[in-house]
Symmetry: C2
Subunit: 331 residues, 2 copies
């Protein structure tokens, strides 16, 4: 299936504001460690005023995946909403400069909300606690979906976080319909265990009806199927989805496709900032999929890409991923 686009991603268009923070600060500011919390404008102002000097790097989960795919040379594009403001211009520039298409029109200056951002607090051990002010990214709706773009894609890749926006369910439905009608496939990432908690029924309905590739980490997959038993969750996914990829932290990643099961160990890395590990795992995995690699190679590519991104601050790749693949014997 060769189409003009290999992967089109849809998600929350965010700029990350990254600062270091110790446990005392996280406790004092009531920040939950290791997960993504949605915050409103007042909380964003309060938290930003209290946190240390930051650095800004374009982020957004699916956008990070698409940036990784673009860095690998994939024909790829992204759909997500920014505003016509400075952070929106930065977000758009960084995706396009990486080689990804990005044509979602920015929300006009008159809109009350701004481009969304994620205040990422990185602990001394590299754990990241994300505090997301969605801004205009929340308002992604069906009008932002270009059906012809979806029809041109081998895969569309949907970010679970976007289930937090009511209009985005309709946007996803429109994208899925256009993609599938043209013979394309649908991948989704569950994004976050608490996001799964908030939208379990919607996730399950979509997964059962339309998803060809489900990506999750173990916590998300267990949350989806309301079980503490990872193998039970994998069994449920196996029955409902053609392919499930499930990362299990330092134990690597599993892939389940009907009767086939693959595993690849994690790639050793000094964790500087865990932000983007799942996103870049997705980039590596999807690159394997669209270039026709076997499942084990797909997982290994995911693990190599994830290891690169956790070795530095920020969730976009900095090293040459293709060179890292070649070094790992995946060239």
């Amino acid at each position: 299936m060769t189409k003009p686009m290999q992967v089109v991603g849809i998600g929350n268009a965010l700029v990350d504001v990254i600062a270091e923070a110790d446990d005392a600060f996280l406790d004092r500011m009531n920040v939950e460690r290791g997960i993504m919390q949605l915050i409103d404008t007042d909380r964003a102002v309060e938290l930003y005023a209290a946190m240390g000097p930051g650095r800004e790097v374009s982020g957004g989960s699916a956008a990070n995946t698409i940036a990784g795919l673009a860095a690998l040379g994939a024909r790829t594009a992204y759909v997500g909403k920014v505003k016509d403001d400075q952070l929106g211009a930065i977000f758009a520039h960084d995706l396009r400069a990486q080689g990804a298409g990005y044509a979602t029109p920015p929300t006009p200056k008159a809109h009350a909300a701004e481009t969304g951002r994620c205040l990422v607090l990185v602990s001394p051990d590299g754990e990241r606690s994300m505090n997301t002010y969605l801004g205009v990214s929340e308002f992604l709706g069906p009008d932002d979906i270009d059906e012809s773009q979806m029809a041109r894609a081998e895969w569309i890749f949907l970010e679970g976080y976007r289930f937090d926006g009511p209009d985005s369910h309709a946007a996803f439905a429109k994208a899925i319909k256009a993609c599938k009608a043209a013979g394309g496939k649908v991948a989704i990432t569950l994004s976050d265990p608490f996001c799964v908690e908030r939208h379990r029924d919607a996730f399950l309905a979509m997964i059962r009806a339309d998803v060809d590739l489900l990506m999750a980490n173990e916590h998300e997959l267990k949350s989806l199927y309301l079980t503490d038993d990872l193998e039970a969750a994998i069994g449920r996914a196996r029955a409902e989805v053609p392919v499930t990829a499930c990362t299990v932290g330092a134990r690597g990643a599993h892939l389940i496709a009907g009767a086939t099961r693959a595993h690849a160990p994690a790639v050793a890395a000094q964790v500087v900032d865990a932000t983007g590990a799942g996103d870049l795992f997705g980039a590596g995995l999807l690159w394997g999929v669209v270039t026709g690699r076997d499942w084990t190679d797909c997982l290994r590519m995911g693990n190599v890409a994830a290891a690169e991104v956790i070795g530095h601050l920020g969730a976009r790749p900095e090293a040459d991923l293709a060179a890292l693949f070649a070094e790992a014997g995946l060239g």
Copy 2:
């Protein structure tokens, strides 16, 4: 001389947009390697569109010095103009979060220009080529100078780059007068050899009349005195300024104060991004000065702080400078 403020810096308030770029790109885009070029809006748009994905870190030469001093625990503040926009908010946050005072009111949203930024292109060898769109930072004038703040400062620290703004000469004069009238002292950095070339007479007039501490690198000092002979330039500075600190790259730094002369070797560092080396040298040196260290220790502190900042992308310190001083026997 104990005053409420140890150092108040005045300069161009900029956010750095940092991207990697190879020589072929610099050639194709007519970027001069290793220096600072002023660019207009059209050129900023053209260069930004062509350059790779960036990361944004607050910058501005004197602001970097003040951030370094604040990180060391100095009583310090900064004067420089941003706009009431997102990059301006980032700049203000990062200085205040570091512990520096910053009270210059932002230029209102209605102003045509935006917060200034510097497109920093980092070569594989760590050399940085800076392309500065001054934006509203250019309009720093006498009205932005609070004479009572200058009177409360043991030192004011003037950024040579600001000589590029006509109103800023008057701002500097107002600041110097208020500072000196209250018994304070004046430090200046020459910033860049081409900036010296543009404003040699103004630099010399100020240096002869008012400067107590002159900071420069060897290229800037030779440009100031129109000579290729560093020792000749040092001799001229010795006759005109109470104290001159001159960095000489990998050969370290010299300090000349009348009949006294000190030298400290450079601190070995893996150069990732040379941006901010001179700014953080200034922070270490001034920290030594305001804490009463001898000249050799002042130079060594400057060299340790410079080595920290060139070891990572961005011109603001990331490691604990006080801990690095202690490790170097400067605790």
